[in-house]
């Protein structure tokens, strides 16, 4: 039924995980972020700051990231917080390198902690020879691993000296940054910038706490610590005009908004919901300078309906939400599908089901997005895998929505939406932004030419075409007067129940999806050596970690590649790589894990319980994964966890034989 996907390119494995001692292969170079990145990774340091909710752990972490980027490093920052305003242990993890880093490090090399609880929770993640930075008052466990270096720093005293306990986070940050060898001045200026809108005294005490702790650690205490930042090329200053060689630090939600704004989105109606709220907030903040209508609606149903109304009237319109909100929008998705209205719905996924783990990450809304209403209707689902892909998804979603006149659901998640990555500024390239309105006839035509008015039924909003796409007049167009209905309708939009018309209309609507598969939707992308025997089947935000895992495995003798889907529905098995088209299942897993070309072991790697993508994959291709590495505790899977899971799965399969399904 489906026409072929566009062909797939194979990419080198980006951003592989490299222990500090390991000399990276050329193969490890970034290939899916901007080209201007250094090809070789010389150091790779991760640290985690932990404390109680309300102690400012996140602000410490994001300041660290900003400072690192200013100094020419690539930084990655990831929050790990709870669904409450105060109370509970929060962490912020920062990874720094001279080459791009797109996911968190595991293990971490430094743990800076404000509470004993935070220390205890994180110690298991500490690398051999790593350091625990904490206040004197915090007694680490008695039977601490002997390889751990404990740095007791008078964090509380330093903070109190500087002005109060509120600066403990900055003291801990200063100490950790001192330990890994980061310059105090750049750190201080980042702190100053962060608190620029606060009182002078606040700025001062924060800066002072950081400086004093940094100093405390930098000398003797830091000596010989193996996990230190190395030299980086000084970043070129960022000129205010594009394209510029500077670097930026931003999250997937931000990148998506930038892409949407660049692509012409001028309307958002949404209802706050973690972790999607920042999208509405971004748009609201830019309502003035960009001329955006941003409506905080009474609920998600209204929000989606408002977007539909704006879209009918010719505006590029979207709504943003998380899983529970997507549930409430399902009836509207069907409405937009039936009446062929472009509608962009961004679902920033979080831990489900129901309220679930609201501040944590998961990729578990795919099966809902796969068929988010009753009946059969056209719609598209895409899920960017990196922050840069979020930017592209920002305008591409609107192009697809306009081209195929249907709902486009964009699946982000808490991880990619909220984590900070460092990108070359030119990765977000205005000139590369495509704006394709498809068969849109225009809407607002000011000179109200009564003569141009068509008689009732003359304009065929739902003209039957070969592509399934009908020229679409926006509300207000003098020549296009019509009234769509969610009831089945004729070409001129009038309601009908006639059997023949109904069948033609169903086919026309669904035919658009075949057109989309043929022209604009993408098959999966292969990262790494296409002939590698082990294929990691991934989608969305696990891409960077999967790529690093593939590199770890390959370095370990298990040749692995990554097959990543950004376009999740509709998908087709026609013209897809062999892996996708009923990849032959190995009779037994060879000891060296190699097999005939293209065949091999298919491993689903997903952040959900049921392997949602692999279910859809099998639905379309018939091929089930041989085993799956699934994580669903709300924490983002790390390269190490993926690699371990694959190793374990291979081991199990060898012992038990290939599972039957």
């Amino acid at each position: 039924m489906h026409t072929p996907h566009t062909s797939q390119a194979s990419h080198a494995l980006p951003n592989s995980h490299t222990p500090a001692s390991h000399v990276p292969e050329p193969d490890d170079s970034m290939s899916f972020e901007c080209g201007a990145c250094p090809p070789v990774r010389r150091f790779d340091v991760s640290m985690s700051i932990g404390g109680d909710a309300g102690q400012g752990v996140e602000s410490a972490g994001s300041i660290a990231c900003r400072a690192l980027v200013r100094a020419g490093h690539f930084a990655f920052g990831m929050a790990d917080y709870r669904s409450r305003i105060r109370g509970g242990t929060n962490f912020y993890q920062v990874r720094a390198s001279d080459a791009p880093v797109l996911c968190h490090g595991d293990p971490v090399h430094v743990i800076a902690t404000l509470t004993r609880d935070a220390a205890l929770t994180q110690l298991g993640n500490l690398a051999r020879g790593g350091a625990l930075v904490c206040d004197e008052s915090i007694s680490p466990e008695d039977n601490l691993r002997p390889d751990i270096r404990v740095l007791t720093v008078p964090i509380i005293k330093i903070a109190e000296n500087a002005g109060g306990k509120a600066s403990m986070n900055m003291a801990a940050l200063g100490a950790a940054m001192g330990l890994i060898g980061f310059s105090i001045d750049t750190l201080c200026s980042a702190i100053e910038q962060r608190f620029a809108r606060k009182a002078e005294s606040v700025v001062h005490s924060n800066v002072q706490a950081a400086r004093e702790a940094h100093e405390y650690v930098s000398g003797r205490l830091a000596a010989g610590f193996p996990f230190r930042l190395g030299p980086v090329a000084p970043p070129s200053p960022s000129p205010p005009s594009s394209p510029s060689p500077g670097r930026i630090l931003l999250s997937g939600n931000e990148a998506f908004c930038l892409g949407a704004a660049a692509g012409g989105c001028r309307f958002i109606a949404a209802y706050p919901m973690t972790p999607a709220t920042t999208i509405l907030e971004w748009m609201a903040a830019h309502a003035g300078d960009l001329g955006i209508v941003a409506v905080h609606a009474e609920d998600e149903i209204a929000a989606a309906c408002m977007a539909v109304g704006a879209s009918l009237t010719g505006a590029r319109a979207m709504t943003s939400t998380s899983g529970g909100g997507l549930c409430l929008m399902t009836e509207v998705c069907g409405m937009a599908g039936m009446t062929e209205v472009p509608l962009v719905v961004v679902d920033v996924q979080r831990g489900g089901p129901s309220t679930g783990l609201p501040t944590r990450t998961e990729q578990s809304d795919l099966l809902l997005a796969f068929h988010p209403s009753h009946g059969d209707f056209p719609h598209i689902v895409i899920a960017p895998g990196t922050v840069q892909q979020c930017f592209e998804a920002g305008y591409r979603a609107f192009n697809l929505a306009d081209q195929y006149q249907c709902p486009v659901i964009v699946l982000l998640d808490s991880h990619v939406g909220g984590s900070l990555v460092t990108l070359g500024r030119s990765c977000l390239n205005w000139n590369a932004v495509a704006r394709d309105r498809g068969e849109y006839l225009g809407g607002h035509i000011t000179e109200a030419d009564a003569d141009a008015e068509t008689a009732d039924g003359a304009y065929l909003r739902y003209a039957i075409t070969e592509s399934g796409i009908s020229p679409r007049a926006g509300f207000g167009h003098p020549g296009g007067v019509h009234a769509p209905s969610t009831d089945e309708h004729e070409e001129d939009a009038h309601i009908t129940e006639e059997s023949g018309v109904r069948v033609e209309m169903m086919r026309k609507r669904m035919r658009k999806m075949e057109t989309a598969l043929a022209n604009d939707l993408r098959g999966p992308t292969t990262y790494g050596d296409a002939s590698a025997n082990v294929t990691l089947l991934v989608w969305g935000s696990t891409l960077p970690a999967a790529c690093e895992a593939a590199a770890i495995l390959s370095a370990d003798g298990i040749r692995a590649k990554v097959l990543h889907y950004t376009d999740l529905w509709p998908i087709s098995d026609k013209g897809a790589p062999l892996t996708l088209r009923a990849m032959p299942k190995p009779q037994a897993l060879m000891d060296d894990s190699t097999g005939p070309d293209g065949s091999g072991v298919l491993v689903a790697v997903e952040q959900n319980y049921s392997g949602q993508m692999s279910l859809i994959h099998r639905m379309v291709t018939g091929r089930a994964p041989d085993f799956a590495v699934l994580k669903y505790d709300g924490r983002q899977i790390s390269p190490r966890e993926i690699a371990d899971g694959v190793r374990e799965g291979l081991h199990r399969s060898r012992k038990e034989g290939v599972p039957d399904a």
């Binding site: 960022s238 209508v293 769509p484």
Partner: protein, 291 residues
């Protein structure tokens, strides 16, 4: 040859005698008297008997889903405030499943004319009680008689901040057309509840029943003293139901409509702006935030 440019080739499938015919006639009349053209008007409806109206009028329209026309209409108006946006729906849509949108559209003061075909019954689904069905009425979902108190829609809209609240009746197309004209002219949310006899499923609130009870506030002795800007007087009228049912403009005051305060619309209607009007420089300024 159509009588008005708003006539459609589509033949209504309403029952003969249905009040919805009168409402449609009044609406076309109002558009004519306001000198509107079909492409300047958008009629958004829900799902129900009366919500088929956009299919029978030659103008922009959208038959959305049950209970949501106000939200869709909000999107239309905010994308292009130059359009005249009318929401038409049933008492089930407006006061039942869609009640929350009414409240919030009212407090937001969206410039939408909201015409409710209030037949006090769920007609398209064949006769269940609606939020405006009188207590005690036996219907298929209240075989022992309705035990809820009916919604008083005008009172509810007033409490929610509506600045224009009126009631018409389907069998007085002229009077109702006049109210529609005023409602459309009113800048902001305007609720016009139109009593609409359903000859098939409401055997209680018949033409006769309404005729015996309705009076125009402008004709009325007491109502002459009615100041349509006095909230509490309006609230009293809005809650009058039973032996006497007031028709006309119950409340009217001036309030800035939502769209006129939106910074996002300062550069004009959204569809009139090119997709790239941020410009490369504007985009680079955005990126500067992330340095």
């Amino acid at each position: 040859m159509p009588d008005t440019p708003f006539d459609s080739k589509q033949r209504p499938v309403w029952c003969p005698g249905c009040g919805d015919y009168g409402i449609m006639a009044a609406l076309k009349q109002a558009f004519m008297s306001l000198d509107l053209k079909p492409h300047q008007v958008v009629i958004v409806s829900g799902i129900g008997c009366g919500s088929k109206l956009p299919d029978y009028v030659h103008a922009y329209g959208y038959m959305s889903i049950h209970g949501r026309p106000l939200a869709v209409a909000t999107g239309v108006k905010l994308a292009n405030p130059e359009l005249t946006v009318v929401a038409v729906d049933g008492d089930g849509d407006a006061y039942g499943i869609g009640g929350n949108h009414l409240i919030h559209t009212a407090r937001r003061n969206m410039d939408i004319t909201h015409i409710v075909q209030n037949n006090q019954v769920y007609a398209l689904t064949k006769g269940q009680f609606s939020p405006t069905t009188d207590t005690g009425a036996r219907t298929s979902t209240s075989p022992f008689g309705v035990i809820e108190a009916p919604i008083m829609p005008l009172a509810l809209a007033l409490a929610a901040g509506a600045a224009f609240v009126a009631r018409g009746v389907a069998f007085d197309p002229k009077g109702t057309a006049g109210l529609m004209t005023e409602a459309i002219r009113h800048p902001g949310y305007a609720l016009l509840d139109v009593l609409q006899p359903c000859v098939s499923f409401n055997k209680i609130n018949t033409y006769e029943w309404y005729r015996q009870r309705v009076y125009k506030v402008s004709d009325d002795q007491r109502a002459n003293s009615h100041d349509s800007g006095d909230f509490y007087a309006a609230m009293k009228l809005a809650r009058e139901w039973g032996d006497r049912i007031p028709l006309g403009v119950i409340y009217r005051r001036t309030r800035e409509p939502y769209h006129s305060a939106l910074p996002g619309l300062a550069r004009g209607p959204l569809p009139a702006r090119p997709l790239d009007d941020i410009g490369a420089d504007g985009f680079e300024r955005l990126l500067d935030e992330y340095v």
